[in-house]
Amino acid sequence: MTYEAVIGLEVHVQLKTATKLFCGCRNEFGAEPNSRVCPVCLGLPGALPVPNEAAVIQTILTGLMMGSSIRPRAKFDRKNYFYPDMPKNYQISQYDQPLCLGGEVSLPVLAFPKDAQKEPQALAGKKVRLVRIHLEEDVGKSFHLENCSGIDFNRAGTPLMEIVTEADLTTPEEAFALLTTIREILRYGKVSDVDMEKGQLRCDVNISVRPVGTEAFGTKREIKNLNSISAVRRALKHEIQSQIELVSSGGTVVQETLRWDDARGETIPMRTKEQAHDYRYFPDPDLLPIRTEGRLRTEAERRMPELPETKKSRLRETYGLSEYQASVLASDPPLADYFEKAARSTRNPLTLANLTLNDYLALRQDSPDPMSIPPEYFGQLADLVSDGTLNSRQGREVLAILIQAPRPPKEIAQERGLTQISDSQVLEEFCREAIAANPKSVADFKGGKAAAINSLKGFVMKKTRGQANPQRIHELLESLLREP
């Protein structure tokens, strides 16, 4: 019997606000322990929470970006549990009236892991439905010491958005693609930096398996607190495998909460919060409901960005870019903006895209601000390359100089004597010389070894100190060699 997995995700995202969700303490990573706290987030008696409107707007914006229905009325509830990472013994969350309901995220091919992009699952264009998006407060950070635990409440009360999906996913790769897509959308909306190192995206996954073709769900197990997209893929792979092995050998899956040990590549049952599924939610009497129509919603709509998928198809259509080129540009909105500005100054946006993705990105690695090149110079450089004045190596050279000291690229090329020789008569001389000097390669080529032409090309490039147009040489050599 073959089995399939049924997977649902709960994605927790730290929002990019200046302050916490219910008090004015700074929302800041890496500060001295317990230095970003006040009576509200320490749960001291008599303190009253007041919601941060920026966090509410960002959650509504996320809902808009993911096609959710924004509820006109939302409220906050207390989720009760006894665990020292929250000083109040409850976490303020949203239970039955979240800010956003429903929604949908499509999985583009390039969101899948590289090794899976050619598989049918990556090409299917699957849509994953969302159950809801709600806003809650994050909990403190615990450190496990030898005989006790130490708590830092700096993170307690910072805004955390939870995106809950339907159990629409069937493979670890789809989960990977969903998280990659969500991360990109959130960055577009400037809702979160989604920095994994800082734990800004954490994920709980629910997994069960069932025989292919059946409808009923198997018993699910939950893996909590996965903190990177690739860890989610690895953990799912492992868990699906072990559930299938268990079920197909006649065993039954027991409902359980697990922790993933990424270093060891195994899941470990958690003993915490065992009975805590009884959270005894009730409306937080300290907080009024929130009405989203009016200013909150208008403000979220005003901040609505062009979404990644829209940008990709626009880049493809406007500039004739490939799916891959459009995706790489769209994954980096400032770069895409820069490309579009430069594209106004070139006749050949495709060459510009190649320059951007191959050379410019490489240079950016070690240059602090390559976008200091005026975009029109960058566009002009693309023209020099596309009309054959410069070959691609020379184009790279000019680009490197442009980053140091921006000037019109034509001037740089002339000064450095960096013009490509495209004059056929001149090139033909060099090609004849190459043929005369390399009888062996000529014989090889004529004997059927097409690659032998490369050593002749190399000869010409050397003679011209790299300034010959390689395309032209190739054509010339071929026609000369075919001469009877």
């Binding site: 200046a18 317990n34 970003r36 496990h144 010491l145 009975q275 009884d278 009024l288 009405r291």
Partner: protein, 99 residues
């Protein structure tokens, strides 16, 4: 126990477990009775006619009560930890958390 008020039915041992409280059988009995009385008293609120009461947030002229995303002064770590039964290295110490 006053039997004129309706009983609520509360599993004291279970709730005590959730709250990490260790109670003796006598305490479970005592607290059970007391909680029953308190909750039964509160339950009387269900008798109030709320048909004409407007739900919070639904009243005319309702305004959201939100704050701007602006920082306010925090406590210093010393102030924050002042009443902690145990502390070390700027952290609140608690019994070891088992994962």
């Amino acid at each position: 126990m006053d039997h004129s008020v309706p009983t609520v039915g509360i599993d004291v041992a279970y709730v005590a477990g959730l709250a990490r409280l260790r109670l003796s059988p006598e305490e479970i009995e005592t607290f059970g009775n007391q909680l029953e009385q308190v909750l039964a008293y509160v339950k009387k609120l269900e008798e109030v006619d709320v048909q004409d009461v407007v739900l919070a947030g639904e009243e005319k002229g309702f305004q959201n009560r939100l704050r701007l995303d602006l920082a306010l002064p925090e406590l210093s770590p010393n102030e924050a930890l002042e009443n902690a039964p145990q502390q070390r290295g700027g952290l609140f110490l608690v019994p070891r958390i088992i994962e």
